[in-house]
Subunit: 119 residues, 2 copies
DNA sequence: TAAACACATGAACACTTGTTCATATGAAAG
DNA sequence: CTTTCATATGAACAAGTGTTCATGTGTTTA
């Protein structure tokens, strides 16, 4: 009888109520995509390494590349993406571009991830 | 003169010291890859939606699929991945498989992400 | 036991992503 | 102003990822 319930699998009870409430509680699509895009930044080991480095100290592009043993070009491409996500910022200092974390959220997000990974 | 310094870009000062210390502070590669793999789970909008739903209430596969308007097969594939990452668990209840968050880290990780996205 | 339902899974395909290679930009030093 | 060093960027390519479609497995109900 219930219109909503007709959409659901055959289960008795106050089932549709729960489904309805959950649907209302979902963030809008824009927020969901933004969130997923944010976490994508943490989902690549190169970017993760870069952020770990910058958690310890700000550093120029050249040094990040050599420290991690990754080509300058690859680092530069990733830095571009990280800047677009507002996770890191940079300033020029003479010939060098010094990169640093733009946000303390990086630390807390990685911290939560670590505590999951380390059981 | 300094062997380490020779690897670095031409910058004066106690530069090599910082680089050396940062290198030591980096987690081992296994941990880094595990971390990146963990965050990959949050980097897809379908999985993000599933986790948001399960943050509100445990739910069977069928309902998750219909609530989100995503095919049962797609949901099932994603659930498999999420289970492998120990982010969700499930139990059988009659014909249905009831899914639920396996870990409170999901809530805290998404929470941190949200507070970044919402400025 | 047969049919119906809930879910899982494999193959195929389109799409995305990260790296490399070559080259461009831009500041600084000679 | 020319060269050099630090960084950025575009094109191309390989590898990874998510969905669909078809079908398989397992559980309940008739």
């Amino acid at each position: 009888m219930n219109e909503i319930n007709e959409l659901m699998c055959e289960e008795p009870g106050t089932h549709a109520d729960v489904v309805g409430k959950v649907r209302e509680s979902l963030p809008d699509d824009d927020t969901l995509y933004e969130l997923a895009d944010l976490f994508k930044m943490f989902g690549d080991s190169t970017r993760m390494k870069i952020m770990f480095v910058l958690m310890e100290s700000e550093m120029c592009v050249c040094d990040i590349a050599e420290l991690l043993g990754i080509s300058q070009s690859a680092i530069s491409h990733q830095l571009r993406i990280l800047k677009q996500s507002k996770l890191i910022s940079s300033r020029r200092e003479g010939k060098n571009i010094i990169c640093f974390l733009a946000d303390d959220h990086v630390r807390s997000i990685i911290g939560q991830g670590l505590s999951h990974v380390l059981e």
